[in-house]
Symmetry: D2
Subunit: 352 residues, 4 copies
């Protein structure tokens, strides 16, 4: 039996990039005011403005992706309101009801499809369905899309554009859950952070660094500044203001510096493609969806999955496909190496 | 004018103890499951059991003190319930309504006195007042005390004992906000963590490490295990589960190791006493309250305060005493040095 | 053009049964304590115990059906929990997010099917789907069924039995929204109120009288008494305790007296069947679903609907069937007369 | 012993004025749309506009006073906000935490004084105290005053004026809990409803009819129309939209018709004064506060209170005065008669 357990099911098992560890240690030497009124956070704001080519934006450094999404949504979602999202969205399936709690009962209205992303037509239909007869109850407040989508694919610019057109026409805000935004960004060549967000109508972005090299660092970016005050009012009340916020901002500054965030994402994505290619050689595995970030989804029999576990390879059990088959997720991170993947493949070959 | 700004108003301006920085770096090399299902968190649990001499307790590692208090309270506070606390309590004055939000409308019933701590008789009176005629509305669910109290003094064991007696008789839970618990503990000689908490009837403790050497690390300890499940249910929904929880637990493990937490607290306390003695030499300053931890409260004229700021010394403006006088707080941390205090005194002497 | 507008879209346009009006006037002469501590409410409790053949139950008189459902659900639904219901359920589509608000963010998990009622197999699948991988998040707290279902059909006893079996096995509570419970009950011959509820495992029933003869009177009946205290705690906090509660109880007592509730329901149901038969004569109309209460659903073209409105007949626009067709609801009440229906048919014949 | 129990502790034990009962019966004959979209509610709106001499106002008919207050407050109170009120205010002491629940955690900041009403200087001090150092946390959103105040006295116009001046300067909304507004109004000669409310800066009024002749009828009047939409959004979600709203509006229309509301209030007030005069003859009783409405507060020994109960007279146990004395409340209603009061006095004379 293989002694070493290989965790390949999520990028949250990864460690912290050395540049970010250094930045944390360095921030410890700087004495500054607590609760975000510090020069490191001030610098972070300027960095973000530059990277996203927008001078009138607001940021909130966070440590939790769930809270980052919920606070962003609560900037426009009230208890009697609703947000339209894909049924597979993290906010709908994996955040323990946080958006509902932060909004004291706001509702998520979901769109299901096999694409894994909201299509403009789906959105139109949903709005029609809700509006029919109900006279705006539940009030639809906004739309949330996930970039990378939960199935590891990215929204193309024109897809987002079409969605944001509909939002504008219906007075809806557009939120982007960017837990893996950097992975999506580097997959689309020659697209800038600005082009990928506010230039196609995104009002606020929950940008995640934790899965891609940070220890615990997320960022809410309000391109629509008027939205920020509501979230800023709620952040203290939900316990998400850290006294030593400078250590969060320090992580982010290091993450952005010299395009580290993009470099780390490229590493993860490259290895995901390599892993995909290797896995596709096994006839027992059927690869699902394009691999447009750092995630590979594989359909396999229940038995195959059990055998993988026996090889001490730990992917993520994603979904049931049918009675006999499962969808299993493999996720690479900036730390994943070609060598590690080769080791996985080697083990698989002993069985399959 | 003095160029260097001396921040002496709060211990949250401090950095991170080197042993804790090392532990963070080390944790980065350990690959383990996310969301608290990791060996470092498992170890933390065992460490806490040993230090608090209790095998049947539950812990939740946190990064925010406000959330740590609110989640602990929400384990027994429902929307229609209430918690009795001192009117100066952090949960009442400084947490932006977090206990009310986490409990969806639970109420804090406050006791005011000049002592800064709840006295047993105060508590009895409050319970009587609420119970009179109202037939248990609002339902009183528990009591929260702060150790160090907000005025820098500690509850003696027999004070807590008397409070917990009343709690037991009235079926109330007893929570302790221990943001500066270590400072209080080392001030009372020969008292163990167990004696200071569950042995005098404390049901749950929000233990803070952030103000005393950690980067962002708090711990909810449920001595009463039955309370833990409610908080564990809410923690995800309030966005307080970190994916890389191991970095929080790693800080805590280093903090507890070789009594580091107590040593750091002793340093802070020692320097607070030194600062108090020095400040008491100035006739313009009147020291308030005993200094039983790392905080010194000084009554001074509005003008004196302005002049201190002009000397580029930044204490914390605590309260208004009367029209002409203020209460100003000085807080030392594990990083404060005698030399730094001497520098403060030197500057003060140039003016006062 | 027809001058008189005929409202036939909902039973809530109906007035109050004379016996109930008399009871209101009579209650005005009885001086008694407010807030439900009165002899009329006490009598109501005894009446309910007798009718439902159960001595250990709790009741809460209400005036709002939405609140009655939400309070009943909140007796077991917490913010981090969820309730499974049909996607067409009133609590999901027509109550403005009340269950989510009362539970501070609890979630409704919906089952969609063309039957309009939850099937045992649907429920099993849903529980499996939620339980898969997610490790009980969201915690499933209970199931809510609607009797009459929203499409005007009733759950047969064995259907409820099968659902409650699953509930018991999975530790789920079973709630019944009985806004039109009386209409369902009298449709099923020889079934007693007890057999229709707690004897098949219903834990609590939101029983509506408003649609069937009362002015504003609903009743939460907790067959499972342990559930009542949570709702009793919340009722004041949600503003649903009336000072002059005796006027609500008085309505209910008159409603139950001499089987008035059943007689009124029979009248409504009889006329619904008559209306159905008449409508089925028109080839432009297609009757949907069995008529097992007081509701008739008709599929018709968009144009037909417009023409009905032109005849000053006002049914309820229920749903979109497809681009060209609508589902239109006709609802009779205890006040509806054969003569009134004949008038509707007469008008329809002038056009169709 | 006296067999007949005389309830004199609250006006909520009263019945319904005959004119209002008639209006209810009459409304039963009018078929109209549910949920407030009816002609009776439309008429109510016009009546209110005329009586309050203001054409741009919004109304919401309600059945619960607690909900009426909470919904009015929620129009400007968010979870992170606060409302300043007197510590004796009904919203603070007697509504089970409803304002906190409706606002998902909003805070009531209380002013205590022996006057029973907020004085302008108290308000200024409170605002200063909150604003000091805390930088607007909790955000102060508004002020709520009670007319009649809880101790049975009314705010004079210039008192309200001074409060509303402060509100305007600090961007605070002003709410009036008018559960006994009519009693206060008729006590102040020659003051119109408009002068008593919006002309002195009241933004919204929770106007109660239930204690003064109605069965269950309250009215939120938004003089500041921009506030109405938030409450209108929440009303469905909190279960306070009645399907047969017309029966609430019908009560209100009858209540307003031919100044019935004022006539009923005058009856209650007149008898309160008569009762006060009679009670003041007993040397064991000390009357507290001016009697400016329908409430008389009496300080008496614990023993006296017990003896009153033995005489089968049931006033309201209001408060503890000191160890040996209680404050006991007597409340008259429109139904109280001179004869009834004489009977009370007669009984008292047998003992005292």
């Amino acid at each position: 039996m293989y002694k070493e357990k290989i965790l390949i099911g999520t990028d949250t098992t990864s460690g912290v990039a050395p540049q970010i560890l250094d930045a944390i240690a360095e921030a410890s030497n700087i004495k500054t005011l607590p609760y975000g009124n510090d020069i490191i956070t001030e610098k972070c704001k300027n960095v973000v403005k530059k990277i996203f080519e927008k001078s009138d934006l607001e940021i909130i450094p966070m440590v939790s992706g769930t809270a980052s999404n919920s606070l962003a949504l609560s900037s426009f979602l009230r208890s009697y309101g609703s947000v339209i999202c894909h049924s597979d969205a993290h906010i709908n399936k994996d955040e323990g009801g946080a958006p509902e709690f932060f909004s004291c009962g706001g509702k998520l209205l979901t769109i299901s499809n096999s694409l894994g992303r909201i299509k403009a037509q789906d959105l139109l239909n949903k709005i029609d369905e809700i509006s029919f007869k109900r006279k705006s109850r539940p009030l639809i407040s906004g739309v949330s899309i996930t970039q990378l989508a939960e199935n590891g694919t990215f929204y193309k610019l024109d897809e987002i554009d079409a969605i944001s057109e509909i939002c504008k026409k219906n007075n809806l805000y557009l939120h982007m859950d960017g837990a893996r935004f950097s992975n999506a960004l580097v997959s689309q060549e020659l697209i800038s952070p600005a082009e990928a967000t506010w230039k196609v109508g995104v009002d606020c972005l929950s940008l995640g660094a934790t899965k891609n090299g940070a220890m615990a660092a997320e960022l809410i970016i309000f391109f629509n500044k008027t939205l920020a005050s509501e979230a800023q009012n709620l952040i203290k009340q939900t316990g998400h203001v850290l006294s030593k916020t400078r250590f969060v901002s320090a992580q982010l500054n290091a993450w952005f510096k010299d395009d580290l965030w993009l470099e780390l994402a490229k590493l993860a994505n490259k290895n995901a493609l390599y892993l995909r290619n290797q896995l596709s050689e096994f006839k027992e595995f059927k690869i699902l969806y394009p691999t447009q970030g750092n995630e590979v989804f594989v359909k396999m029999s229940n038995l195959s999955y059990e055998n993988i576990l026996r090889l001490n390879i730990i992917p993520n059990l994603w979904n049931q496909f049918d009675t006999d088959h499962l969808v299993v997720r493999f996720v690479t991170s900036f730390e994943t190496t070609k060598c590690q993947i080769d080791k996985i493949i080697e083990r698989l070959k002993t069985y399959f």
